[in-house]
């Protein structure tokens, strides 16, 4: 009897299901991804055990850098525009249509109102350096521009919720100044943005139930 022929098997694997899977996952991640917007400063958030996610609509964010500089922004572009128009009227500054458009895409008001026109004329690549040199939105009682911006923003969108986003190393006096400004406007309810940390009470509960 002749030797049984060993069937030659192809070494190639059908990769179609794998590709299907990969592209399914890609589609999922592409649809769910939300890129972090370019903010005036990068802050390292402190941890807390809070669990409520930060809302992403109707949000007024007060960003406080490590050096105590304050920046303010709202989440939607229409409010940004309305806010700028109202503030411009109050300060007797006229902004062109182009400048308004440029302002509406900014995540935060990065400079004092007097410097805003100059800032908007800058190329995007030069902006970061300018923000570093600038002193942010003034909060001192002599010229409280944070209050001005906030008032106009809240008038054009009364549903705004307030969130304070500060670096963990920010000195307390800077925070106090901002909270004072909030209190003046009767904004007594606000959120502190933090990153999530495990709740030690829950940890204890699970470990004791396991043992």
């Amino acid at each position: 009897m002749p030797k049984a022929k060993v069937a030659r098997k192809s070494t190639a694997i059908d990769m179609t299901p794998m590709v299907d899977l990969a592209f399914l996952l890609i589609t999922f991640f592409m649809l769910t991804v939300k890129f972090r917007p370019q903010e005036a400063v990068t802050v390292i958030l402190p941890p807390s055990i809070a669990t409520t996610p930060v809302p992403n609509v109707d949000l007024l964010t007060i960003l406080i850098g490590e050096d105590g500089k304050v920046y303010m922004g709202v989440s939607d572009q229409n409010t940004r525009r309305a806010m700028l128009e109202a503030v411009a009227q109050e300060r007797n500054i006229t902004f062109t249509e182009e400048e308004k458009k440029k302002f509406a895409v900014l995540e935060q008001v990065p400079v004092p109102i007097e410097e805003l026109k100059r800032f908007l004329a800058l190329r995007p690549s030069d902006r970061e350096a300018y923000i570093k040199k600038s002193k942010g939105v003034p909060v001192d009682s002599a010229d409280n521009q944070l209050q001005m911006w906030m008032l106009r923003a809240r008038l054009s969108n009364p549903n705004l919720r307030i969130a304070i986003k500060a670096d963990e190393k920010t000195p307390y006096p800077a925070i106090r100044q901002v909270i004072k400004t909030l209190k003046k406007q009767k904004a007594n309810r606000f959120n502190l943005v933090t990153i999530q940390e495990a709740d030690p009470r829950k940890q204890k509960a699970t470990s004791s139930s396991q043992s």
Binding site: L192, V193, T194
Partner: protein, 209 residues
């Protein structure tokens, strides 16, 4: 394995002429596509799994009401736990007075530090018998006083500690002149900061172990 696409028909015709059937291979080498797919997948996975921020709600008393409160209510000092948050992540605390004098203690953040202090002092207040527990099952009030050297992290940490220990009654205040003097006196009399640094190091060690 070569990539042949749509070559089936022409292959058959040629095959008929020569009288031989040539099998067309309808398979495509998908390796580069898979490579690309997984590259993109990796990119999106890495960009999305950033830690999502959470919001810690804070309600501060309206300015007017605060003034009224201090006029109306007189709180017994026995049930008030004062926490002084100063620079270098230090906490000084006291509750009540001994011979009419404030005696400060120090602690740090975390479960072995301020959390234990809150739990212990709460029990002491409850057991003191000075307060009617049927009216108010948890009479202790925490006064948090922040110095100008304190950081935002300190503030969030202590508010977090209030949530963890279920301390409902607390106030967030600034350090006044008298408070600053108390702390300065204490730091002087204790030959600080060397001795406190040691104790804090010990606390941190016991916390870590």
């Amino acid at each position: 394995m070569a990539a042949e696409v749509g070559g089936g028909d022409s292959g058959k015709k040629k095959g008929k002429k020569k009288g031989r059937k040539k099998k067309a291979n309808p398979r495509i080498d998908m390796t580069p596509m898979v490579d690309l797919g997984f590259l993109l997948l990796t990119f999106f996975v890495l960009t999305t799994t950033m830690s999502t921020p959470v919001a810690m709600p804070v309600v501060v008393p309206a300015e007017k009401q605060e003034e009224q409160k201090t006029e109306q209510e007189k709180i017994s000092e026995e049930k008030v736990l004062f926490l002084y948050l100063t620079g270098k992540d230090r906490i000084y605390w006291y509750r009540g007075r001994e011979n009419n004098e404030v005696k400060l203690n120090y602690t740090t953040y975390g479960d072995k530090g301020v959390r234990e202090v809150i739990y212990k002092e709460r029990e002491k207040v409850k057991r003191s018998g000075l307060f009617d527990l049927s009216k108010d099952p948890d009479p202790m009030i925490v006064m948090i006083k922040l110095s100008d050297d304190a950081s935002y992290r300190n503030m969030v940490d202590i508010l977090d500690e209030m949530n963890i220990t279920d301390q409902k009654k607390y106030m967030l205040l600034d350090m006044e002149k008298a408070d600053i003097e108390i702390v300065q006196d204490y730091e002087k009399n204790m030959n600080l900061p060397s001795s406190i640094e040691k104790s804090l190091a010990n606390l941190a060690k016991s916390g870590a172990s």
